[in-house]
């Protein structure tokens, strides 16, 4: 697939103003090829214009536009990132109790030569894939598998890296019967006590308890156009505003973008996305993530078990805003 073709397929509503420019660029290129005209300068100019326009479009996104990007069907998934960032990945399956949850992947891998454990929710890139992956909504067995591999990391003193990209933990009859709430709650308690460095990255949708259920890293990072919220903007709108169409208002009110969450002290850093967001250049997005991972892991590697636990505990202990007295 040529790069141009890919770009066209990936256009979001907010990217529509670019459509014209892409067309012009393509025409220029065709013209240059057919007539053997010297248009290199024109092509370069047009590419520059596209770049500028794209930058402009992505600088002042509304929260709900960010939501669209975060949920983009072509947004790189956890397995994409694992492929780009790590070496020698061996996927580990199953919670050893009930089944294997395809909505949450995990495994052994090397990060710049260092043994680590990686895990994260896995969305699909087509309807068929999404059905197989349950749209990245994990069942209790997914959370229990996550905890199982975290324990392996802990046993051998290896860092843990979690990728968060989920609309939320699955809500279905089976999920309830097998203890979705208990699975998440237990993960929260156990993650707080892990004796190894742990970094979580919100790469797409950080959907509520389903996201937090693998998200208690010593460092919590977020891609520039990812979102993280207690409930989906649509859910919040239909419950509090009594109108699902007011999702935009809900998205604004809840403060769900990386910038907002950095200000609130929920995340530690924002990872820049390439021009036109991660789906336009997954390789570059992966490079940015890899650099962020290495930089953030470095200082954690010098901490003792007790310091790592204290670091994590204090991080979450501080969260909450209230009045006293």
């Amino acid at each position: 697939m040529s790069k141009d073709k890919k770009e066209k397929r990936n256009l979001l509503a907010i990217e529509k103003p670019l459509e014209d420019l892409y067309q012009k660029l393509e025409d220029l290129k065709k013209l240059a090829e057919a007539g053997k005209m010297e248009l290199t300068e024109e092509v370069r100019q047009m590419e520059k214009r596209i770049e500028a326009k794209r930058k402009d479009l992505f600088t002042n996104l509304t929260p709900i536009q960010t939501v669209q990007i975060a949920r983009h069907l072509y947004r790189p998934t956890t397995l994409d990132y694992i492929g780009y960032i790590f070496e020698d990945f061996v996927e580990l399956h199953g919670d050893r109790n009930f089944s294997d949850d395809p909505a949450l992947v995990s495994g052994l891998a090397k990060l710049a030569g260092r043994s680590v454990v990686v895990l994260g929710q896995q969305k699909g890139k087509s309807t068929k894939e999404n059905i197989a992956r349950n749209f990245g909504m994990a069942n209790p067995e997914g959370y229990r598998k996550a905890l199982r591999v975290m324990r392996i990391a802990e046993r051998y003193g290896r860092p843990i890296i979690s990728f968060i990209d989920t609309p939320g933990a699955y809500c279905g009859i089976g999920a309830e019967e097998r203890g979705q709430a208990e699975a998440i709650a237990k993960n929260l308690r156990e993650m707080a006590e892990l004796t190894v460095p742990f970094i979580s990255i919100v790469t797409g949708e950080g959907g509520s308890g389903g996201a937090l259920g693998i998200g208690m890293g010593n460092r919590v990072l977020m891609l520039e156009f990812a979102i993280y919220s207690v409930i989906s903007p649509e859910g919040c709108a239909s419950i509090l505003f009594r109108d699902a169409k007011r999702a935009n208002d809900a998205a604004v009110a809840m403060k769900i973008t990386a910038k907002d969450l950095l200000e609130l002290g929920i995340i530690d850093d924002i990872i820049k996305e390439p021009a036109g967001a991660a789906h336009n250049n997954p390789e570059q997005a992966a490079v940015n993530i890899k650099n962020a991972l290495i930089n953030n892991l470095e200082p954690l590697l010098t901490l003792s078990h007790r310091e790592l636990i204290a670091d994590r505990y204090n991080k979450f202990r501080k969260m909450g805003i209230f009045e006293e007295g």
Binding site: G172, E176, A185, R189, G209, L240, L261, F322, E323
Partner: protein
């Protein structure tokens, strides 16, 4: 799969939902007579009170306020509230039907509480314990920064005092008006329970009607021992959300305490009249093994 989505049924369902909601909201009115929400039996309110607010005919457990719960369980005058003066703050400037700031103020007046949980130290049959009692009458028992902070401080206090923690949960889940900060209370309270466990101190979770969402998916499910009152709705996602997601009828008794017992999620379902006695037995058991 049942196809229940005809327009006709949809209206019927809406109406049925309305009726249920109407009844739930009333809870116990000030009148002399109360109609049981479940069986419809007319009950003399004095009788209902003396029966611990349980319907003598059908065993329906009415919701209790935190004050009532303390009065039923703690030794007289033993309960000393802590952190009573922490209040919610509208730090997002959140405005849905009503500004959150106003909602907090109105709830304080209406529920005569500062937030959705009362915490403190008390004794049950002379056994000291740290008690947290959530109150559904304050914004549906939703967990925001205040509930999270009070639960966490209660656990920390129990570690200092070396006593067990008992929390009665009743909660609609995370408080959306506090956005992501309400989600983080799940992490904070669960981490604190980890510390309690490190200190070999027990946590007894008593799940009452209803315990849902972020509260269930954090401290409420983390008891060394999880008890529940009969008929209590206990879930991660509420029944309506699930019905909308899977478009199937839910099995009878789904997400009720007895159903969770059958599925291995709680240790016992305890009638309110036996609750104190059971708690005392459990506390005595733990007391014996501690140092």
């Amino acid at each position: 799969m049942t196809s229940t989505l005809s327009i006709h049924n949809w209206f019927k369902k809406k109406q049925a939902e309305k009726e249920v909601l109407g009844r739930e909201r009333l809870d116990i009115p000030g009148g002399l007579w109360v109609k049981c929400y479940k069986c419809g039996q007319a009950l003399f309110s004095k009788d209902l009170e003396s029966n611990l607010k349980v319907c003598p005919k059908c065993n329906y457990h009415f919701k209790l306020t935190s004050t009532e719960r303390i009065a039923q369980l703690a030794d007289e005058k033993s309960f000393k509230e802590i952190n009573a003066n922490i209040r919610s703050k509208d730090f997002l400037g959140f405005n849905d039907a009503k500004p959150y700031a106003k909602r907090i103020k109105d709830s304080i007046t209406k529920a005569k509480l500062n937030d959705a949980i009362v915490t403190g130290l008390g004794k049950i049959c002379d056994l000291p314990c740290a008690l947290g009692i959530m109150d559904f009458s304050f914004m549906g028992g939703s967990m925001g920064s205040v509930v999270g902070e009070k639960v966490t401080r209660l656990i920390e206090e129990a570690i200092v005092k070396k006593c067990p923690v008992i929390i009665f949960s009743a909660s609609g889940g995370a408080r959306m008006q506090e956005g992501i900060m309400s989600l983080m209370q799940m992490a904070k309270t669960s981490a604190a329970l980890g510390r309690l466990r490190e200190n070999s101190l027990p946590f007894i979770s008593v799940l009452t009607d209803p315990t849902t969402g972020g509260t269930t998916a954090s401290f409420a499910m983390l008891g060394d021992i999880n008890l529940a009152e009969p008929g209590a709705l206990i879930c991660f996602a509420g029944p309506r959300v699930i019905e909308q997601t899977i478009r199937q009828k839910l099995p009878p008794g789904f997400q009720r305490a007895e159903y969770l017992l059958d599925h291995g999620m709680i240790d016992c379902v305890i009638n309110r009249k036996d609750l104190k006695e059971t708690l005392v037995k459990i506390l005595r058991w733990f007391n014996n093994v501690q140092r």
